[in-house]
Amino acid sequence: MQQLTEIRWHARAGQGAVTAAKLVAETALELDRYIQAMPEYGPERMGAPIQAFTRISESPIEIHNNIENPSVVVVLDETLLPIVDVARGLGNGVLIVNTCSSPAAVRQALHLGEGTVACVDASGISQETLKRDMPNTPMIGALAKVTGLFTVDQVAGHLAKTFGKKFSQDIIDANIASVTRAFQEVQAS
């Protein structure tokens, strides 16, 4: 990966994108990276489209603005694709979408030329592992695979540590299973 990785998260409020932005930053911190994670704050309404941002760098991060030219865009809800320009400023970066569709179909729907498109059924995985639609942690697994930012063990290790304070072992295990499955099942082209 290049020296500064900028990740923009698109989701609907309540899907855990802010938590995901934070988890990814914290996982990178454990690898001694410099990090930033911030949501774009607006009126908080369940289900409304939101953005969050993560920056990861080898050296201190000086910029504090929103991410306009992301290296990676993660979309937690495919119903946003027709209504939010998720690929804005992405260039030849990586787009990762929670969907049952194929990368080729997403690429065609969004008229994307350059860059990588990756798809994973994060909601489906979450329904099976967590018994509810919580696509944020599986999307971190997909992100790890497609970008090479982390190994599955690094993501799982951090999840166990941070979730260990709040959640039961069953929930932690289910999240780690989500991450692992998404890491294995994500398709990129």
């Binding site: 930053a25 914290e26 911190l29 990090i35 930033q36 994670a37 704050y41 000086e62 929103n66 306009e68």
Partner: protein, 395 residues
């Protein structure tokens, strides 16, 4: 031996940690976005017994500062936090705190003022408090907000100062972003700030004193104000020496102004708060392509470091001042007015342009900073400076 741990936390969480480590006797608290998580986190520390503070929940910011004034006059170390409309509601008591020479430390999450309603970052609130007699520090990052807050306690309580200090951080951009920072161990901070020994405590009944009395006709009010001016002047040296001492312990630099590329800069941006980072990021890139770009960050706004600013800018060909607040009807924003005034005594006139930017949290895109440097380059090459201020990026 000072030991620091690397943390990934928001600016507000780190400021709350600084509060805890400074162990205030009293914290009167009232929530307001985007400051709320400071008093919220601090309330948890109190509830969990991690700090022994009298935590006073009040019904407004007017009362928060009134309670701060009362507790500080009684002899307590007092800290509080606010933002925006809350700071505005404290207006009367801000003057009283400074006039009574009470070393209160307050964090402010810099935020726009209504109307229209907006909860996001600008410096309208804090610039409204610039003449209240408080010292005012600005932070670029969560790290600086933490360091400034710890230093603020020492500065405020210094015998030669005895004035309240505001430690400010940019709303949401710094208060709510998770950032990498170093947190000092509790013992080192406790030893650095020391314990507060009030000199004129109301509760010291063996030495009865009055505070804030009537000082009417005949000059005593005038003398009080003069002594406040002298204390603020003395604080210049104290801010620097406390900054140098903390810097030595934590290993991070502190200056009332901090320059990037100012040694040979031909064009320079003067800026407060988080945008200093954006400006430095752009200047760094421009330097790689041969542009002698510089950034001068003002970290201490009151007392205003006019001598340091004049010294840093004296050889620059064109200067931009970034104002994140308005002073409607004035020739420019508050920072512009002070910077240009600081340059008045220079032998060689330096062109200064004022850019109003980022009001109500308008995003400070990289291209906007690039545009400022482009403008400056043209002025440095002989183009006329724009007449009047520029609303940067306004549609």
């Amino acid at each position: 031996m000072p030991t620091q741990k690397t943390v990934a936390v928001t600016g507000n969480v780190l400021v709350a940690e600084a509060f805890r480590q400074c162990a205030p006797d009293v914290v009167p608290a009232y929530p307001i976005t985007p400051q709320t998580t400071i008093v919220e986190e601090f309330a948890k520390f109190v509830a969990n017994g991690r700090v022994h503070t009298e935590y006073v929940t009040v019904e407004s910011e007017h009362s928060a500062m009134s309670a701060s004034v009362g507790a500080s006059a009684a002899g307590a170390r007092v800290m509080t936090a606010t933002s925006s409309q809350g700071l505005a509601l404290m207006w009367e008591e801000l003057h009283i705190a400074a006039g009574m020479r009470l070393p209160i430390v307050m964090a402010n999450a810099n935020r726009a003022l209504s109307a229209p309603i907006n909860i996001h970052c600008d410096h309208s609130d804090i610039m409204g408090a610039r003449d209240t007699g408080w010292l005012i520090l600005f932070a670029e990052t969560a790290q600086e907000a933490y360091d400034n807050t710890i230093m603020a306690v020492r500065i405020a309580e210094h015998h030669d100062v005895m004035l309240p200090v505001m430690s400010t951080l940019d709303g949401f951009i710094t208060t709510h972003s998770i950032d990498r920072a170093e947190m000092m161990d509790d013992e080192t901070v406790a030893a650095f700030v020391g314990s507060y020994v009030p000199e004129n405590a109301l509760l010291d009944t063996d030495h009865p004193v009055g505070h804030g009395n009537f000082a009417g006709l005949g000059g005593p009010y005038f003398e009080f104000k003069h002594s406040q001016r002298l204390a603020m002047e003395r604080s210049r040296g104290v801010v620097k020496s406390v900054g140098a001492q903390w810097s030595k312990i934590c290993g991070r630099p502190f200056g009332v102004v901090e320059g990037f590329g100012m040694e040979d800069a031909e064009v320079a941006i003067v800026v407060l708060g988080s945008t200093a980072g954006n400006a430095r990021h752009v200047a760094r890139g421009l330097r790689e392509s041969g542009v002698k770009a510089g950034v001068l960050k003002i970290r201490c706004f009151r007392p205003f470091p006019y001598a340091e600013i004049a010294e840093a800018l004296k050889g620059v060909k064109a200067v931009a001042v970034m104002d994140r607040s308005e002073s409607f009807g004035a020739e420019g924003g508050p920072v512009f007015l002070e910077v240009r005034s600081a340059l008045y005594d220079l032998e060689k006139r330096v062109p200064v342009v004022d850019y109003i930017y980022g009001l109500g949290g308008a995003d400070v895109k990289t291209e906007l900073i690039e545009r400022v440097f482009t403008d400056l380059g043209e002025i440095a090459n002989g183009a006329a400076a724009p007449a009047g201020l520029v609303y940067l990026g306004a549609r």
